[in-house]
């Protein structure tokens, strides 16, 4: 242990303060909206609420969470997320396996076809017209199908497959195992952690996606959470959903209801965040080793 010089100490102070500031700036917007969501309506309207709640109450939160539109949109988001994630991870993991056999004829060409789609795409309108042709407008499949394979995610899984020791597959082959048996009995069980991480990538993608719903869903009963929230946030004054919910509730200001809706939409993510963070960081690191 060497003694800390004054220079070192002031450097430390600067660094700690800088990082602390980063943390505070990150939390402040969430904290102030949260305090509005749980403050007394009259305090919200008169603009007395700052970082800390004034006249704590949970009525507005309760009201927002129990509104049928909110519950429906949460249900749709969960449905899309589960079905989407299961299908996406299955398709991605299966497609990545043949692509990891680079010595097979034609594989490098097919790989090129996949990679090209990372660099170039048809764009919004051709995608919209495709969905129209497929009669998927106002179908939840329009949210699930276009995102089934993310090439980036597939590359992560592929490079993980490639990193598995070849001897494992070779000895199984000598024992007469088919490619399918090797994939399902050896490769996939060994890839558990990376598959779990990528599944989380897909789950967060489906949960947060509002762009596809905005393009393809206009049936109010099929709107997932993000789109429902967008209606409330964007059309602050004209939103029928908001006006109705504010009317229904005696003392609620639109401001209070809006804050509570934003907070209610963050809660599911906050609940799983500690778990997500750990796995996501790992996933980014696996991806960057290759990249």
């Amino acid at each position: 242990m060497h003694k800390k010089t004054i220079k070192d100490r002031s450097l430390d102070l600067f660094i700690y303060l800088f990082l602390l500031l980063m943390g505070v700036v990150t939390l402040l917007p969430i904290a102030t909206v949260l305090s509005k969501a749980v403050s007394d309506e009259s305090a919200v309207i008169s603009g007395k609420v700052g970082i800390f709640p004034v006249g704590f109450q949970l009525q507005t939160m309760k009201y927002v969470i129990s509104s049928s539109q909110f519950l429906t949109s949460i249900g749709i988001s969960i449905l899309v997320m589960i079905v989407g994630t299961v299908l996406a991870i299955a398709l991605t993991a299966l497609t990545a396996y043949p692509l990891s056999k680079r010595n097979l004829p034609g594989i490098s060409f097919i790989m090129l076809l996949f990679i090209f789609t990372m660099l170039f795409n048809g764009g919004i309108i051709p995608n919209y017209l495709l969905m129209k042709e497929l009669h998927l407008i106002n179908s939840l499949w329009s949210l699930i199908l276009p995102a089934l394979i993310s090439v980036f995610n597939m590359l992560v899984i592929k490079s993980y497959y490639e990193s598995l020791p070849e001897s494992l597959e070779e000895s199984a082959k000598i024992d007469g195992a088919s490619n399918f048996t090797i994939l399902f009995r050896i490769v996939i069980p060994l890839s558990g952690p990376v598959l779990a991480t990528i599944a989380l990538f897909y789950a967060v993608y489906y949960w947060n996606d509002y762009f596809n719903p905005m393009l393809y869903i206009n049936d109010a009963g099929l709107k997932p959470l993000q789109l429902y929230l967008r209606d409330i946030v964007m059309d602050a004054d004209s939103s029928s959903a908001l006006n109705k919910s504010a009317d229904d509730m005696m003392n609620a200001s639109p401001e209070g209801v809006r804050s509570a809706t934003v907070i209610a939409s963050i809660i599911p993510m906050l609940l799983v965040y500690p778990y997500l963070q750990k796995h996501f960081v790992k996933g980014v690191l696996i991806g960057s080793v290759k990249g």
Binding site: M22, F114, L119, G122, I125, P126, L129, L148, N179, V284
Partner: protein, 321 residues
């Protein structure tokens, strides 16, 4: 003599290619099940990635939904001529470049600084807490983030305007003011991703050999010196790679972000290529023109990213793909 030799060489070469193609055929036959496994993925690829690329042909048509892809009138490059003569497009192009440049200049260094500073923190609990907090916004959708910032920046009851009033200023409608809208876009983008983007640099720093620091320490180099002379050069290849990658997305100024934030009042400062395509296409149903704008965007993007990759190969011998 030499003729016979040439002939022999030719024959062996032929036999070689024959046996290679025979070997490839055998490889294909023995692994036909792996190719079967590819079929669902290829169907996905053709239907959802390449079919829309085929749809780009409507950029060269005067497309209407009743005549379809085959029946619509071909107009050659008329849509692109319209694009070149559209003043609105120049405005949008200008906005896109400005927002992108601001984002790159102001936001690119922040994750690097965060990573460098986190590396200096010895208290594990503090380090972990800060990381957990600053990674969080990455997991929130743009809709939620717009909701948060519209709330705190609101001219009626927003915390920021309270502070401005308290300091004696007049409230600002950040989301309705062309002087401030771009700043809001840049700031919220930084708020969402600065912490998360530090991960890649944190990982790069972890890869630097510890002996270098020990040697420098013995030589009497202070911590600031070590940061500048060891850590920064150590992660320089990563910085260059990420920077080049970032430049490749110059024309993507944040379509999904701006779509949750803007309104007709701030089109003149906040409308970017992506949002313009969305409005022209799905709002005005001008399918052909907006596809042409989208195609322009995609082609420039492709050129940028491919040349960026070439540059990265030459500069740091690393390829993006």
């Amino acid at each position: 003599m030499s003729m016979i030799r040439a002939e022999l060489e030719q024959q062996t070469a032929q036999m070689k290619t024959k046996s290679i193609s025979k070997g490839r055929w055998k490889l294909f036959r023995n692994n036909y099940d792996l190719y079967l496994l590819l079929i669902p993925g290829l169907i996905f690829l053709l239907l959802f990635k390449y079919a829309p690329m085929y749809g780009i042909i409507i950029a060269f048509q005067d497309f209407n939904i009743f005549d379809g892809f085959i029946g619509s009138k071909w107009v050659g490059l008329d849509q692109f001529e319209k694009l070149i003569h559209s003043e609105e497009f120049y405005q949008v192009f200008n906005n896109t470049l400005l927002i992108s440049f601001y984002k790159i200049i102001l936001l690119f260094p922040i994750p690097i600084i965060i990573a460098l500073f986190l590396n200096e923190v010895r208290r594990a609990v503090f380090k972990k807490t800060i990381q957990t907090i600053i990674f969080l916004p990455h997991f929130l959708s743009w809709v939620i983030i717009s909701g948060l910032f519209m709330n705190i920046l609101s001219p009626s009851g927003g915390v920021v305007n309270h502070v401005i009033e308290w300091l004696g200023g007049t409230p600002i409608s950040f989301f309705l003011d062309n002087h401030f809208f771009r700043s809001v876009v840049v700031f919220t983008a930084g708020w969402k991703e600065s912490g998360w983007n530090a991960i890649i640099f944190i990982a790069a720093i972890a890869g630097i050999e510890q002996e270098q620091y020990e040697a420098a320490s013995i030589d009497g180099a202070g911590r600031i010196r070590q940061m500048i002379n060891i850590t920064l050069p150590g992660i320089l290849p990563t910085i260059i790679l990420i920077f080049i990658l970032r430049l490749g997305y110059l024309l993507e100024a944040g379509t999904e972000q701006i779509l949750t934030m803007y309104n007709s009042v701030v089109y003149s400062s906040g409308d970017v290529i992506g949002t313009f395509v969305y409005r022209q296409g799905l709002g005005q149903q001008d399918y052909s023109f907006s596809t042409a704008v989208g195609l322009f965007n995609s082609v420039v993007g492709l050129i940028l990213i491919v040349s960026g990759n070439e540059l990265s190969k030459r500069l740091i011998k690393r390829s993006i793909w």
